[in-house]
Symmetry: C2
Subunit: 364 residues, 2 copies
């Protein structure tokens, strides 16, 4: 029985309760021949409370060792006042950077059964299936200088630096074109090349990679503000959207919200493939946040977290059959009407976090 090393980082808010449901699924697979070696550790506010940092060196070492990291969510009002360097989000940012997880895949899928939960008209979003490919280790998130300085007159000046290199843009472009080839073969590249030099370089390099390596794929360039508009106006025009770290943060949240299925959407953050082992570092997390308002109440929808584990089965472990099985189990549970509050049909009874996990295990 092969074992796969999985690190669970539940984090804060609803993180721990949705992670508990993933553990049920992992347990089921273990009982049925797919072994996982799981460890768990703290991240975010929980790590800060225990260690005074948002991720400990020990947890970082475990993440480096793991075949895949499952990440819940971080943050909450409790830690609003903690120093910038150890705020909950810093743990996530360090994981992304130190593991080299440059490619963030965020599917936005509108499940037909849930189309009415969207604030958009059914016909605008029904059947929506977009993949946002967000660059995750560069741009304004990590560029230096990044500082606040106090000037002579006592006033302050804050600076962030948006920085991209040829190599960073090339590798994320390739991920996007590759994915498009397995989908509807269209890539929309979003930047602000009319205002930003990083956007100018981004457009140049994406254009070249397209011409040299993926000429059969349809490529369009779209300004990020217009892309946001078009996502609201007619999202089905898109297949794969490739964009930088900051625009990706915003555009992927818009795309997720369109679907009416925010509690359903998983994501994968992938590193480069190691030419020696053929494997890559990876972290899987739900698109939703820590939702402090409903934390601990057993109301959270665990499907995005469970789906993130499904993405790990597929992308990190090559267990395509197991991943398909899990996806089918999720779909069946949804179809049976067993749903949490956020996606329950009007008038239908909503169930809690645990019931969803149990129902999926039962389906398996």
């Amino acid at each position: 029985m092969a074992t796969h090393k999985l690190l669970l980082l539940p984090g804060d808010g609803i993180g721990p309760e949705v992670m508990r449901e993933v553990e049920k699924i992992v347990g089921w697979f273990a009982r049925n021949g797919v072994g996982f070696e799981t460890e768990a550790d703290l991240v975010g506010g929980a790590a800060y409370d225990a260690h005074g940092v948002s991720i400990s060196e020990a947890a970082m070492a475990r993440a480096q060792e793991a075949d895949a990291v499952l990440f819940g969510a971080v943050g909450g009002p409790k830690w609003d006042g903690v120093p910038y360097a150890v705020r909950p989000e810093a743990g996530l940012l360090r994981l992304r950077k130190d593991l080299g997880l440059f490619a963030n895949l965020r599917p936005a899928i509108c499940y037909p059964a849930l189309a009415d939960a969207s604030s958009l008209k059914r016909e605008v979003v029904e059947g929506l299936d977009i993949m946002i490919v967000r660059e995750l280790t560069g741009g304004v998130y990590f560029g230096e200088p990044k500082e606040i300085v106090t000037l002579e007159d006592g006033s302050q000046r804050a600076v962030d630096t948006q920085l991209y290199t040829t190599g960073e843009i090339e590798r994320i472009a390739r991920v996007a074109f590759d994915l498009a080839g397995k989908r509807r073969n269209k890539v929309s590249s979003a930047e602000k090349s009319n205002v930003m030099k990083t956007g100018v370089l981004w457009r140049q390099i994406v254009t070249r990679i397209h011409r040299e390596e993926f000429p059969a794929t349809q490529l369009e360039h779209v300004l990020a503000d217009n892309c946001a508009m078009q996502l609201v106006r007619n999202p089905k025009q898109f297949d794969v959207i490739v964009t930088d770290n900051l625009f990706g943060d915003i555009l992927s949240d818009i795309a997720a919200m369109l679907t009416g299925s925010l509690g359903m959407l998983p994501s994968a953050s992938l590193g480069a493939v190691d030419p020696k082992t053929g494997s890559r570092k990876a972290l899987y997390e739900p698109v939703h946040g820590s939702a402090p308002d409903i934390a601990g109440k057993g109301l959270a929808n665990p499907i995005a977290m469970i789906g993130s584990f499904g993405m790990a089965l597929r992308y990190s472990f090559g267990l395509i059959e197991a991943a398909d099985m899990l996806d089918r189990a999720i779909a069946n549970v949804l179809a049976s009407g067993t749903r949490t509050r956020d996606i329950a049909a009007p008038g239908a009874n909503a169930v809690g976090t645990q019931e969803i996990g149990d129902a999926i295990v039962k389906e398996l």
Copy 2:
């Protein structure tokens, strides 16, 4: 008869044809006792074609002299290949910067008669009335360094700099709180303080201005990605949103698109009030762009441009009665069903750009 100095910069694409309709309105006011001294000049691609720059020094001098600038739109595929420094958008950016137009007011209003034109459900957007206050002369648009450098190995590195000072944030915060006081008295301040130092400073200063000067206004801080989500999920929760140049670019486009009335939305860009004269520099422009695909066909909706002139009447010339009159005339024309293609009721006959202008003059 008082005269007011107006500079018309129609620009590219549909800019000239929607500006022509404004001239009709200006003409009507002139015949009825409100005199304007109008000049016109080139900007954007049109200026590039004539002078090799996106705005000439002569046009800049006229803009400095004017009481208000009316700006159409710039850009189009024709100028996609021109050098970065003289691309069409550079003319607009220079106007904003050199005139010190730091406060960009972008109302997003959903006209009940047009609610069905939105891609969002009627109940989500009907009656929507948000004001986005976007900082317009700072941030990543103007920060230095802003460059692409070629490294020793032939690869390139692009840099943009996001920069904000105490003073820049204070003055835009005041504009937002001031406006909120005349509305529903709520300000939502959007930034990425969990990732960006400029966001940290932004939040600090907005918090202080609120405490010291506008304690009676409701203030909430919202992360920009969440703000984008909430705009899609439930936009009516917002009154005034204050945010930086780049987030404002994206968030205001989302807000505009929600309304289903993109061709209807005006905007104002205002400078500081001169303590001596009590006046301020100002530029008024529609939220929509140059729409090269329909340019020259007489299909464009001129209402955003005419409404921008209405904002000039109100904010630059203090002609409140005239502004109200113009707003009423626009509303009456809309109510009568005289509409351009973009907002025509399903099955109804759409009219052209000129018919709308004529109909508004007739209503006046």
